[in-house]
């Protein structure tokens, strides 16, 4: 696995290892959640994490965010981003944003409060409004700028969060089941947007998904995780793995479930 991990990297991109995880172990409440995870994420590459429920997929993302105590080495490409010195500029779209739906926080408020220190309680600078508009336009959501976050539908909210996570463009984008609870057209739009982004910005994307049917077409690499890495490789390789086929029920009917 170590030897062939550069396989599948698109030719025109740098293909460098942007983020390296070496022998990561995570124990939560005495239970080993992640075991000896070694994984390299490349620039311009979309890696998808699949696996059964409770396999530690979200924990792996939260480890990268620095929220989970772990052993092993996390190595990020040194960049001068907006993050902490030991972490690259990261974008993160949570599985389901847990927030108070009745908060009077508009989409523009969310952008401005993340981007600047000028209090959104007073007024917004023209510059940040334009930045927000541009970012939203990239995910076809500029019409949502003055809406309250709590009013948005699931798909709209995910797109707004994606736009926010890309402002400014990070080196590493973490997406935790970004399409759960979104209808099929919404999913397709989301995947198309993400797929375009990795090529346009040469950023590494790590996405957790249950939607095997949807991701095989857009992923450069799939990692099947069940506390440890069971198998990793190109979509075709991973789909051929017997354990993957068993978990996703591919033995019974030949087409992947939607």
């Amino acid at each position: 696995m170590e030897l062939d991990h550069h396989k599948g990297v698109a030719r025109h991109l740098c293909g460098e290892c942007c983020t390296k995880l070496e022998n990561i172990n995570v124990t939560l409440d005495g239970r080993r959640v992640l075991e000896d995870i070694s994984l390299h994420l490349h620039c311009g590459e979309l890696t998808t994490l699949v696996g059964p429920n409770g396999a530690g997929k979200s924990t792996l993302l939260r480890t990268l965010l620095g929220e989970v105590p772990h052993t092993g080495i996390l190595h990020f490409l040194p960049v001068f981003g907006h993050g902490r010195p030991d972490a690259p500029a990261m974008g993160y779209v949570p599985q389901q944003l847990e927030f108070d739906r009745y908060s009077p926080i508009s989409v523009l408020d969310a952008f401005s409060s993340a981007l600047s220190r000028w209090p959104v309680a007073l007024w917004h600078s023209r510059r940040h409004r334009q930045t927000a508009l541009d970012a939203l336009a990239a995910v076809h959501a500029e019409h949502l700028i003055n809406r309250r976050l709590g009013e948005l539908s699931g798909g709209e909210l995910q797109r707004v969060l994606l736009a926010l996570s890309l402002t400014p463009v990070p080196n590493l984008l973490l997406l935790d089941e970004p399409v759960s609870g979104i209808d099929l057209p919404g999913r397709e739009l989301f995947y198309r947007t993400v797929s375009e982004l990795r090529h346009d910005y040469d950023l590494s994307i790590l996405m957790v998904s249950h939607d095997l049917a949807g991701i095989t077409a857009v992923s450069d690499r799939i990692v099947f995780l069940n506390h440890r890495i069971v198998c990793a490789g190109t979509p075709a390789e991973v789909i051929a793995n017997p354990e993957v086929r068993r978990t996703f029920g591919l033995e019974i009917s030949d087409s992947p479930r939607a």
Partner: protein
């Protein structure tokens, strides 16, 4: 100060002829916007119960101040409230217990301790003005104090407004952007302690939290973004502050409580506006 008194005494109202009323009015104009601004963040970040605990902890602060023989227990008050507030946040973070349980426990402890300390020798009545507060006894020197702390805390709140708002929205999201939730929460907690304890003697322990929460809760019913939220909260706080003061003069009631009742009235009005809005087909 003199200009203020001269100007207000020109108003054609009976209450405007009294020096203590003019001073009280000035105090309200200074602190209402601060209460409202802070309230919007407290409500957004679901810390209403937390600030309530801080208010109640002041009882123990007063008790400790008396025990230590302080002439003015303000130091003990701020100190104890700060320790309790930081303790609550730390306890919640490290034990991962439910916030309301942790707060309820701390509040039970501090109120019980406060009552025990103050009732020693059967003199609790001596301290009952801390429960109800007395705005009309506010002095010019206290006004100066209020002005300074309000400007400092208000400026700090505005500086940290975006950060507190974003961390309140979702902590993981904030962390991914390199924001430090722990320090922000600590500084916000300090600001809450400052505002609550500085205003305690004139608002009273029992209702100091209502001054924070009610205007923001009302504004929340009708605001569609952060700017409107703060604007409406400040408007409600100023209106109920002035109306409550005049009402307390006319009916000879405690000022703080009268202000809160007017603010509650405003809250009901905003509920009505919200209901009317969602009932009408065009928005």
């Amino acid at each position: 100060m003199n200009t203020w008194h001269t100007l207000i005494s020109l108003l054609p109202f009976e209450w405007a002829q009294f020096g203590f009323m003019r001073t009280a009015l000035l105090a309200i104009l200074i602190v209402s916007p601060l209460f409202a601004l802070m309230g919007t963040l407290v409500v957004n970040n679901r810390m209403a119960f937390f600030s309530d605990a801080i208010g109640h902890a002041s009882l123990t602060g007063v008790g400790l101040g008396v025990l230590l023989g302080m002439a003015n227990p303000l130091g003990a008050l701020v100190g104890f409230a700060l320790i309790l507030g930081i303790g609550i946040i730390a306890l919640q973070r490290f034990t991962r217990s439910a916030m309301d349980t942790v707060i309820s426990l701390s509040m039970s402890f501090s109120v019980a301790l406060g009552v025990v300390l103050l009732s020693r020798g059967g003199n609790f009545n001596k301290f009952s003005h801390y429960l109800i507060g007395d705005l009309l006894s506010i002095t010019n020197q206290e006004i100066a104090q209020l002005l300074v702390t309000s400007v400092v805390v208000g400026g700090g709140l505005l500086l940290g407004y975006n950060r507190i708002l974003f961390i309140g929205l979702n902590e993981s999201l904030a962390r991914s952007r390199g924001m430090n939730a722990w320090w922000t929460q600590m500084l916000f907690c300090t600001a809450i302690v400052m505002v609550v304890t500085m205003n305690l003697s004139w608002v009273g322990i029992l209702i100091v939290n209502s001054m924070l929460i009610v205007p923001a809760a009302g504004a929340r019913n009708i605001a569609r973004n952060s700017r409107q939220y703060v604007l409406y909260a400040v408007a409600i706080a100023l209106f109920s502050g002035i109306a409550g003061l005049i009402a307390s003069y006319s009916f000879n009631t405690a000022t703080g409580a009268s202000i809160v009742l007017v603010a509650m009235g405003c809250f009901v009005v905003t509920l009505g506006i919200k209901a009317a809005r969602s009932a009408s087909p065009i928005r």
